[in-house]
């Protein structure tokens, strides 16, 4: 039994190495004094300083963050409203709506990206920030639906009816009784959307036109001629800040769980 446990630990450890090895490489590269990623030129913090002077990277960063934030917000509102509506629908319309949200999840990104580009061109809309934003909202909505739907299944209709019975308006009853139950799903839908938007390349690639860059498209454009070391520094900063944030949230959740137990 004990050797099995050790073997399991080794296996999990190997998979973790596999998942995190490239991240380690990128962090190391961000401290590499040599501009070429092929050789180690000594330790430096130079790129972290130069990063903030690099206007192209900074504008790509602000585009990326703004699109992630806005698309996550819009997707969360539209998706959550849809789930609320679904709870009162008959089986057939409900199935149609969930299938609709499955399409972008299961479809190839390249097809989604290309098809959105065709639509924007067909209605003479200029490719650029707005087109990218619409694209991101579109692929984010299903993530919200997927996160909120299970929470909706757990809600109890008699509590809601009791609130109505006691004189609450439907809106008030919803906000006081149902919304708190949905909240964890809504929050995780928002975070998931934000993450997916930050990490997206393909949809942005086809809808951005020539005007704007996000971090992903900037990196792709640099792939051939060599990535600027500032980019490694920026991604290290982003990664570390998310890591720290997650550790704080996790610690707080654990402390709360402990408190509840006592």
């Amino acid at each position: 039994m004990k050797t099995r446990r050790i073997l399991e630990n080794i296996y999990i450890g190997l998979v973790m190495v596999f998942l995190y090895a490239p991240i380690l490489v990128l962090v190391v590269l961000s401290f590499n004094a040599s501009k070429s990623r092929a050789k180690w030129g000594g330790f430096t913090l130079k790129w972290y300083g130069e990063l903030f002077q690099n206007r192209e990277i900074m504008s790509a960063l602000s585009n990326t963050l703004l699109i992630a934030l806005l698309s996550a917000l819009f997707a969360t509102v539209i998706g959550t409203l849809a789930v609320i509506a679904m709870s009162r629908m008959k089986k057939v319309p409900k199935t149609i709506l969930t299938t609709l949200s499955n399409i972008p999840m299961l479809n190839a990104e390249i097809v989604t990206g290309v098809s959105l580009m065709l639509v924007f061109v067909a209605v003479n809309m200029k490719l650029g920030f707005n087109a990218v934003l619409i694209g991101h909202i579109t692929f984010n909505i299903p993530y919200v639906v997927l996160s909120v739907l299970p929470k909706m299944k757990q809600t109890n209709s008699s509590v809601y009816e009791a609130a109505l019975d006691l004189g609450a308006t439907p809106v008030k009853a919803f906000c006081k009784v149902v919304l708190p139950d949905l909240m964890p799903g809504i929050v995780s839908g928002f975070i998931l959307s934000f993450t997916m938007s930050m990490d997206d390349f393909v949809i942005t690639h086809f809808t951005r036109g020539a005007e704007i860059h996000t971090l992903s498209t900037k990196i792709y454009a640099e792939t051939r001629k060599g990535i600027k070391p500032e980019m490694y520094a920026l991604s290290t900063l982003l990664f570390v800040s998310v890591l720290v944030l997650l550790i704080i949230v996790n610690k707080r959740n654990m402390a709360e769980a402990k408190k509840r137990k006592n």
């Binding site: 409900k94 190839a108 993450t195």
Partner: protein, 285 residues
């Protein structure tokens, strides 16, 4: 009083269904119509006197270069899906048996790498696999000749497995944690050994998770053009690269759409598979 309450419930039901309005409008405008537009482009060709119906974009797939790209895409994505399944299942099972605490912690471990940009992570594998890269440097310490790892089909499979493994682990894990421990205990009580319990109880119950994992890995692997262009060099062309070229560089949207339609046949097959196993119903408040 009862009448009034009933009426209140009914109006709130109608009102509530209207909340799906923005969603329906949005999904029709940016999912359904775009797909119809792909079909429109795919079935037409540009001629001197306007667009004309044609099947020539679809038959482009029979062109030896495109056919080879599609074949290679199918082969590599199938291989990486199988590898992902083999790697992911034990991990999901171990995480379930360990009761790691919260599900959110498990999700966090596998989502966290996504905060390092996907392209950069794939480029980092270049560093590791290169002729002068990390692996070959390590090998040379032991006096082993450098291996030719980068710019091969193997490197592409490697990149696919790396990028999509979490999408196999999470759905399987989600199904496994929902299996009632009592069901497993009952099987053991009735005399099944660990292996029999796994084959007869756990494995069948986890099929929906495996199906959704398989499609979540297979479709993006089949259609990628980024992984192949970063890890496969310029010589290895997948069907995703062909389509991207048609749209971004050759400007032949009709041909690109036609090839996308062919590709979608495979996507539709996987979607059909998912819908067979996904029979969940939403109720609630």
């Amino acid at each position: 009083m009862r009448e009034r309450f009933k009426r209140k419930m009914q109006t709130s039901g109608v009102f509530r269904q209207l909340l799906a309005g923005p969603y329906i409008v949005w999904m029709v405008a940016f999912i359904v119509i775009p797909l119809l537009l792909i079909a429109y482009y795919g079935f037409t060709v540009k001629t001197d006197d306007g667009l004309r119906f044609s099947l020539s974009n679809l038959t482009l797939i029979a062109n030896p270069i495109n056919l080879k790209a599609l074949g290679l895409s199918l082969e590599l994505s199938l291989i990486s899906t199988i590898i992902c399944l083999i790697l992911a299942y034990p991990i999901a099972l171990m995480l379930r048996n360990r009761n790691v605490g919260s599900d959110s912690f498990v999700i966090m471990i596998f989502m966290l790498p996504m905060w390092m940009n996907f392209l950069l992570r794939t480029i980092a594998w270049q560093n590791i696999l290169e002729k002068t890269g990390v692996i070959n440097s390590l090998l040379s310490v032991f006096g082993i000749k450098p291996l030719n790892l980068i710019n091969t089909s193997g490197a592409i499979v490697f990149g696919m497995v790396y990028n999509f493994l979490p999408f196999m682990i999470l759905p399987i894990y989600n199904v496994l944690v929902k299996i009632d421990q009592n069901v497993i205990n009952a099987a053991r009580d009735l005399g099944a050994n660990a292996f029999q319990t796994f084959i007869k109880v756990i494995l069948p119950l986890s099929v929906p998770g495996m199906i959704s994992g398989i499609t979540m890995v297979f479709v993006p692997s089949l259609t990628t053009f980024v992984i192949s262009s970063i890890l496969g060099g310029s010589k290895i062309v997948l069907i995703g690269n062909v389509i991207e070229q048609q749209f971004k560089f050759l400007g032949n949207w009709n041909a690109g759409s036609g090839l996308s339609l062919v590709l979608m046949i495979f996507i539709l097959i996987s979607m059909a598979l998912v819908s067979i196993y996904d029979k969940d119903d939403v109720k609630g408040f």
